[in-house]
Symmetry: C2
Subunit: 542 residues, 2 copies
């Protein structure tokens, strides 16, 4: 018998793979297993796809031992699929959070992802079977033994009622309240050291980078399915491994889960159609290169097990699956991540931390706003060069040709030289027009791409700031409380500020090198024009 | 009693100083003395100004000995002011011709001309009192003794009935028919030699050039009148003389009258208002420099008495007046000009002449058309650089500044260098925007000015071609006739082709040097931009 669910709130599909559902509608579920907070099923119009799990309640018509069945088959027991009632009370936020994940994992629009659907379900299943202590599924207050147990130890510290707050979701609150516990091996330890400009991640003693080769098109199922494969060669192994976009995608999901206050940049956008087209592949590859650079050079991300597995594991299917399973069963995710942090000896001044975080908040806000303006300007400038500038130079070129053509009617041998020079000048201007049209690809598009990447990157920071601020607020609320709370807040602060520091360092590095690239390209461009004009000028001496 | 005239045809004023008059309207004349074919008076609306003399007939109500008065005061005798009836039959052409002169001599709109009005009238008066044999005023067929006398000697060759044809007006027809006669001294002789590319003017054995200093503003009548004075220094005397625009204007009128198939370029345009403004003065000066260069280097124009008088005569008022009077009484004008031409020994093949002239006609037509297109393109390009290009670069500059400003909020000491470099880059782009806006003045405006000059120059050629074609047609019409006619046609052809040759030589020289100037300027421009960008790039290393 088909599994049904009743829709609690209207949901409008906004992305490919999603379906719209309306309040009180009955939907048929393909499975009650959630995929990152989403369920799959068909709506009353017969459309199949994803919708947020928290927007529906599963109608349990079967008798199961876990179910508080009241015995009546006609009035089925209603229980939430997995989300707590509070989640349902803030559907907008829930949807937003769900989308942040689903935007990277949505299916149906990308063939090179489809074929691994079953694999994925298993992974998600594995994740949920891990019963993480601080995820939404188990945080119904007082319902789980763990929660009631932990509630004791922090009886005087109020819990955040908003179960969907990032502070709560990330595990930040649980850690602050001393609820995190896991075995941290020495190899897992992440050191924050006090640098010249504040806390920073201890540098990776074995720095490496990773090159990405041009992607190649692969097919399987006798050509029915095709996908792009990227050759990655990390410098510390110098062995190439082949990875598909779905592997990046899987890695991304692991990292986001693993590191609450570290910004894992979004992967380059997917595209529903035309993804084998050159432009798209080039742009994705550029995005992936930047992503890989960011990952490889990040002292924490670059060093972590799952990323190393991704970079090193060869074609051995079994080894890959083992590492995959291991990563998916990792205990040091969410709240437990903070257990791995070793802060500097001297604790931070929390007031100073607050001011720094406030400053960073203003900074990210302003940068985000300005990036939008600058990107519009740059794209408009590129468009003008490709259309207007090109046209103007070409028109002038045609003008000079026209003059030359009129001159050719003069039948005077001694003006042949001039006529040829005029024709050459006309051509030169037409070529300069082409130069203008080709140039943005060299020096404006890369800036625009970088700005896009940074915009995506910046979008991670409100959550990170939120975790930090949540911790500070909680500590302020209970000033008289134990030093442990302050210590734990110090740990969160150290990690956050180290990540902020890292952001600034990479930002300065990225923008410096991009501006240098831009200016060098512009210089070559104008030198190329100058050379063309010098050629033309010379013709008048001949 | 006021002198009246009846208007024969509608005339619409098109230039400052002219007034509109309507058919049958009575206008009051200030004087019956014509000024280059124009009369001055007031129309029925009370407006005072100029109108073409041929458009009205003077109502003679006074009894004069020269007048065929039929005695009736009530029905006044109507006689043309000076134009023959045929002229009235082709008002469009008459108007066109009249305007060619008046456009250079119209008054009322230019103060620095006004104060010499009386002088001018005298000059014109002098000219008409000279009774030139081939000007409009005396060409009523059969009316003058000279005309009837000459009619005999060319009884078999038909006269052109259109008394306003350039062929007739220029004196070309009269010369061809053997009606020209004047004393030609050796010094007046103008040699046409056979060069590599056809007939050409014998080069001036004493070539010279002439510099024009910045004009200075002069006043007279206790500051009531002001005018610009140009300092001319010809290289062959190396003595500076001061000339006003009105002197150029007078010279121009003399030269046009003197040399029928030589193109005397128009003087730079006058401007009714703002003529002391820098832009206008600069443009006029540039135009005058080109004009002076053309005149000085022209083997015939540069050498002739009136031009030499203009260049050499100092501040001695009496000497100036004497030279002026001499030039105005010159007998070798119009038809007599051709008497001064010494053709090469071997006469030209008239068929070849015809084909060359046809070719030149197509050439001038095409060049004229293309100049219009090119000038529009160039002006549009200049406009785009001043507005659009500037704006785009400045916007991008502001964009980089904006990014830098956002970066400044980051409070990280190590990003100060980048922030300053970004700010500098922003400034650099804004400066480059300014460069774009300033550039057209350096390298597009001069081309545009040259094109304007050549357009004016080209406007002279239809008349020159017309004279040549008139001569050829007349010779064809009477193939069996005497060799004298062919000889005289050969002289006209030699002079015309020599002038065409000269046009091409100066054109090639002018356009080659202008294009070289343009390209050099463009090269410096792009090098300036490159240098600015290199400065900016360097900031990222600091």
């Amino acid at each position: 018998m088909a599994l049904k669910a009743r829709v609690l709130y209207d949901f409008s599909s906004e992305n490919p793979g999603e379906i719209s559902i309306a309040e009180n509608e009955l939907v048929t579920l393909f499975s009650e297993k959630e995929l990152d907070g989403w369920l799959e099923g068909t709506n009353r119009s017969g459309q199949a796809g994803l919708f947020p799990a928290t927007y529906v309640e599963i109608i349990r018509s079967d008798v199961s031992p876990n179910n508080n069945n009241n015995g009546g088959f006609d009035s089925p027991d209603i229980s939430k699929a997995s989300a707590p009632p509070l989640a349902a009370a803030i559907p907008a936020l829930a949807q937003q959070l769900a989308q942040r994940v689903v935007s990277q994992t949505s299916q149906g629009s990308d063939d090179d992802w489809d074929d691994d659907w079953d694999d994925r379900s298993t992974a998600t299943d594995d994740t949920s079977s891990r019963a993480p202590a601080y995820t939404v599924t188990t945080s119904l207050p007082g319902r789980t033994a763990a929660a009631s147990q932990q509630a004791k130890s922090s009886a005087t510290v109020g819990r955040n009622l908003n179960r969907f707050s990032t502070f709560v979701k990330s595990g930040g609150e649980a850690f602050l309240l001393g609820e995190a516990s896991a075995l941290v091996k020495d190899g897992d330890r992440i050191c924050v050291v006090m640098g010249q400009y504040g806390p920073e991640w201890q540098e990776n003693p074995y720095p490496f980078s990773c090159s990405i080769d041009d992607p190649t098109k692969q097919t399987k199922f006798k050509g029915m399915k095709s996908y792009m494969s990227y050759g990655l060669t990390p410098t510390h192994t110098n062995v190439q491994v082949n990875r598909r976009y779905k592997h990046f995608d899987w890695l991304y999901a692991r990292l986001v889960e693993r590191f609450p206050v570290i910004s894992v940049p979004h992967l380059p956008e997917k595209q529903a159609t035309g993804r084998f087209e050159e432009d798209f592949i080039t742009k994705r590859r550029k995005g992936l290169i930047w992503w890989m650079n960011h990952m490889s050079s990040h002292p924490v991300l670059g060093h972590c097990d799952v990323f190393q597995h991704f970079l090193i594991c060869g074609a051995d299917e079994k080894a890959w699956k083992m590492g995959k399973r291991r990563a998916e069963r990792d205990q040091l995710v969410g709240a437990n991540f903070f257990l791995t942090i070793s802060p500097p000896a001297v604790p931070l001044d929390l007031q100073e931390v607050e001011s720094k975080i406030e400053g960073f908040k203003s900074f990210t806000k302003r940068l985000d706003e300005n990036i939008v303006v600058v990107n519009t300007t740059i794209n408009e400038f590129a468009r003008k060069q490709i259309t207007g500038f090109k046209k103007e130079y070409q028109r002038v070129g045609q003008g000079f040709r026209l003059l030359g053509q009129a001159f050719e009617l003069d039948q005077q041998a001694y003006s042949t030289g001039l006529n040829q020079a005029m024709a050459y000048t006309g051509e030169a201007y037409e070529t300069i027009g082409e130069y203008f049209a080709e140039q943005p690809r060299q020096d404006l598009d890369p800036i625009s791409d970088l700005l896009d990447l940074y915009r995506g990157h910046l979008a991670n920071y409100p959550d990170i700031i939120h975790v930090q601020k949540g911790a500070l607020t909680k500590v302020k609320d209970c000033q008289k409380l134990d030093g442990d709370l302050r210590d734990r807040c110090n740990i969160i602060s150290c990690a956050t500020l180290a990540e902020v520091q890292y952001f600034h360092r990479t930002r300065v590095r990225d923008f410096r090198s991009q501006m240098q690239h831009h200016l060098s390209q512009q210089i070559s461009f104008f030198q190329k024009i100058t050379a063309k004009l010098q050629d033309a000028l010379q013709k008048y001496d001949e």
